[in-house]
Amino acid sequence: AQSVSQHNHHVILSEAASLELGCNYSYGGTVNLFWYVQYPGQHLQLLLKYFSGDPLVKGIKGFEAEFIKSKFSFNLRKPSVQWSDTAEYFCAVTSVIKAAGNKLTFGGGTRVLVKP
């Protein structure tokens, strides 16, 4: 069975600091990888995704993530955060096998608080 682990439950940092959120997954086959974000009072929205190709993917709002297959990792980064990046961030995977039905397996989420 798939599982996803996010290393930090809570992160507090100041504006302009760099952010890196860890994500590791466990699965024997090939996966598609996602980062979703939930801003306060809003619903989950996609930040970025990796299906194939360049392992460094860029998403919205200046976020990027790097897929390292050998480490089963898909860490999220942003060089300089803003107060508006305060949110909960979720890493998720799906199997590329069509029969698996594309259901998302989520990590536990990381709450990020950016202090102004």
């Binding site: 996602f34 619903h43 039905g101 594309n102 259901k103 998302l104 989520f106 990590g107 536990g108 989420g109």
Partner: protein, 115 residues
């Protein structure tokens, strides 16, 4: 384009009562998913519809949960009878069917509290 909508936004019920949650996917999206987040835990898959057919219901916790998608448009998730451990946020998501993996678009969720 309207997003995924869910109703109600909040529901507070007593143990043993019945609650029905509704999800309206994005128009034209054949895939519809239900997920749940129990407090302090990760978001977990419940089931997946393709049009009106249940593609995968492996995440449904037990037979107190019944999901339907008659006509392949909106979906309902009924919990009967509700138990304390059913409290959490129930998310719905939809995606189009293209033969490849697609981004799932999430609704705002329904917060269910069972007292």
């Amino acid at each position: 384009e309207a997003g995924v909508t869910q109703f109600p936004s909040h529901s507070v019920i007593e143990k043993g009562q019945t609650v029905t949650l509704r999800c309206d996917p994005i128009s034209g999206h054949d895939n519809l998913y239900w997920y749940r987040r129990v407090m302090g835990k990760e978001i977990k898959f419940l089931l997946h519809f393709v049009k009106e057919s249940k593609q995968d219901e492996s995440g449904m916790p037990n037979n107190r949960f019944l999901a339907e998608r008659t006509g392949g448009t909106y979906s309902t998730l009924k919990v009967q009878p509700a138990e304390l451990e059913d409290s959490g946020v129930y998310f719905c998501a939809s995606s189009p069917v293209t033969g490849t993996v697609e981004t799932q678009y999430f609704g705002p969720g329904t917060r269910l509290l069972v007292l």
